[in-house]
């Protein structure tokens, strides 16, 4: 980096005030943590709008913010498919169809639902893979943030890691999930209000939307794509060669829209936990629906900066430019941080950096609260100490918070030494997550699905993902972490990594789906219809909320949200 950012006194004051508030919220909630349910599930007392914003914010880690801007620069407006094709339909689905099971079954975690619906081994598999995934991802994002602050502000790497870990530790230790959720709401507003002026200034500099489009036409043609490749989300999805993502519409809709997005939003306890903490079934079902509205507008906040950054960079001159990496390609991940430094004078610069810090903390807190719940309920209480008192599990939750954060810090340092190992682990977890949605879909809508079917279906689906990854390669990549490590490969070469990811997910899902059905037919269903009441669609009484106009019911809200997503897709077609 040739130009570090100089922070003024006022910027540090803003950051310090933010820390005071974050810790103050934890302190204020300390007295309310009396039972383990208070600590892990907020005593199921969170109103819908708060749970909804936390649902969104827990997913809005620094990696999401930085990564979406990077994709915006690299792939243009097509990145919005992650939102308008992926997240939004999945969030509507989880609110309308899945929440009745999650909330109604009184399961305290996603793995616990799997135990109630299937059996112990399915739960164990999910609990262990999920718990390790959360500490690793919080470690990776901690590493990414500390690295960023080191490069950008010249902060000491160790200092960044320990100060942020300590603050997250203190507020979760004191206030449990409630404190994490309340802080996520605070962080949500901070992220939104911190980035709006950035988008405004960047867009103004690029000559408004029309100016941006004109410049991005230049970017597209310079890279050998049709003119609108960066500014039209669907028009160039006909073939993988005509858009920078390197995928065609089918792979995108099935891989990203269906498997990856539904898999994440419907089964990842990190987000589902926020809805489980809601104060009623009505609120739990509205949590993802409320979250979907701001989610749908997030592309303007996180993808636009990347598009603006790449447009201005290609324009040349002495305006904004992205830094280059060692190999000469642009470092797209620096889009937002570099723009903050370029456009924000001292004062609002503090606000922007605090927003970046907030996004990191909300992501990390989400991981930590999900980890301590799954560890305490699904691993410790299930396999290690079954007969503890509630106070014992509350104590355990607090200890796990410390332990989880320490392990995350360890992972962050591991990442500094072995970057490839972390990439590899993330890949493995992607394998585990992709088939999970097939298990849930069958579990919730087909009463005949058995425990053996679910467990071996998951294992085979995970294996299928690994095999597909091992047999294929993205164009131009070296054999190894990017794939192609099985003998006889590459059987197929994808135009991009993204295309390979989507198809890995499609294969994993399909194999899990088919295998679960086949094995379920071959094995005996040990759960009676009575056992499955409240866990399977056909055996659960339908929830009716009387006296509401149609647009206030979850179904009506869901339809409105979907209609809005369709409009957005059409506008940027």
């Amino acid at each position: 980096m040739d130009q570090g950012i100089q922070l003024g006194g006022i910027d540090y004051v803003i950051l310090a005030i933010y820390f005071v508030f974050v810790l103050g919220i934890g302190w204020a909630l300390k007295a309310h943590q009396k039972t383990s349910e208070d600590f892990f599930l907020s005593g199921r007392s969170i109103p819908a709008w708060i749970a909804g914003l936390a649902f969104l914010s827990a997913n809005l880690g620094a990696q999401e913010v930085i990564g979406m801007a990077a994709s915006g620069a690299k792939y243009g407006i097509a990145t919005s498919h992650f939102y308008w094709v992926g997240a939004i339909p999945a969030m509507v689905f989880v609110g309308v169809f899945m929440m009745p099971f999650y909330y109604g079954s009184r399961a305290r975690s996603v793995p616990e639902y799997l135990k109630l619906r299937f059996d112990e081994k399915t739960r164990g598999f999910n609990a262990i893979s999920f718990a390790s995934m959360t500490v690793f991802s919080s470690g990776i994002s901690m590493y990414a943030l500390a690295k960023l602050f080191q490069v950008l502000l010249g902060w000491d790497f160790d200092f960044s890691i320990w100060i942020s870990a300590l603050i997250v530790l203190v507020y979760i230790y004191m206030g449990g999930l409630t404190s994490a959720i309340y802080n996520e709401v605070l962080q949500f507003f901070l992220i939104v209000l911190g980035f709006i002026p950035l988008v405004f200034l960047g867009l103004r500099d690029a000559g408004g939307w029309d100016g941006l489009v004109a410049r991005l036409h230049g970017v597209a043609t310079a890279n050998g794509y049709p003119e609108g490749a960066w500014t039209q989300s669907w028009a160039h999805m006909g073939s993988p060669q005509s858009n920078p993502m390197g995928v065609e519409w089918f792979g995108m809709v099935m891989g990203l829209g269906f498997v990856l997005s539904f898999g994440y939003w419907c089964t990842d306890f990190l987000v589902v936990q926020r809805a489980m903490a809601a104060d009623s079934m009505a609120s739990a079902r509205r949590t993802p629906l409320i979250a979907a509205v701001p989610k749908m507008l997030f592309p303007f906040l996180v993808i636009f900066p990347g598009m603006i950054a790449v447009a201005l960079t290609y324009q040349g001159g002495d305006g904004f430019t992205l830094p280059r990496m060692a190999d000469g390609t642009y470092d797209y991940t620096m889009s937002i941080p570099m723009m903050l430094g370029h456009y924000f004078p001292p004062g609002i610069l503090g606000l922007g950096l605090t927003a970046l810090m907030a996004s990191f903390m909300s992501g990390m807190a989400g991981n930590v609260t999900a980890f301590n719940t799954v560890w305490t309920y699904d691993i410790y209480q299930s396999y290690i100490k079954k007969d503890g008192t509630d106070q014992h599990y509350l104590w355990m939750g607090r200890m796990t918070t410390i332990f989880g954060i320490l392990v995350s810090v360890g992972c962050a340092y591991l990442a500094t030494a072995f970057n490839n190992i972390m990439d590899f682990l993330q890949l493995v977890f992607a394998f585990v997550n992709a088939p999970l949605f097939a298990t849930f879909l069958l579990g919730m809508f087909w009463r005949r699905a058995t425990g053996h079917g679910a467990f071996f279906g998951l294992v085979l689906g995970t294996l299928a993902a690994a095999v597909h990854h091992g047999l294929t390669l993205p164009a131009g990549a070296a054999v190894g972490i990017k794939g192609g490590w099985l003998p006889g490969s590459p059987l197929h070469t994808y135009p991009s990594e993204m295309a390979q990811n989507f198809w890995t997910a499609i294969w994993a899902w399909t194999v899990c789906f088919v295998a679960t059905i086949a094995i379920s037919w071959l094995t005996r269903q040990k759960k009676s219809d009575d056992d499955l009441k409240g866990l399977v669609w056909a055996l659960t009484p339908k929830i009716k909320e009387h006296g509401l106009p149609w647009w206030k019911t979850p179904e009506g809200l869901g339809a409105l949200v979907l209609a809005m997503a369709v409009v957005l897709n059409a506008v940027f077609w």
């Binding site: 005030i17 919220i25 009184r106 305290r108 109630l116 001292p346 309920y377 409240g534």
Partner: protein, 80 residues
Amino acid sequence: MRLDIRTPIGLMFSIFGGLLLVFGIVTEGDAIYERSLGINVNASWGAVLLAFGAAMLWLGRAHPAPPPVSDAPPEGPSPS
């Protein structure tokens, strides 16, 4: 849970807004605003944050959250 989250949010953004507004007024015309295309973003965005903070504080006061009503089902299968 008697902490209304709107109060700390309102308070924090009022402080941020006030701080930026005052800082923006003091530094009006300063060279630092060349970065932000000649716009005094501190003063203008500070005013927006202040208004947002005040609105949150007012909402928290004027419309206190109703006591939680629980229609959660009775204890289900005891998890072990």
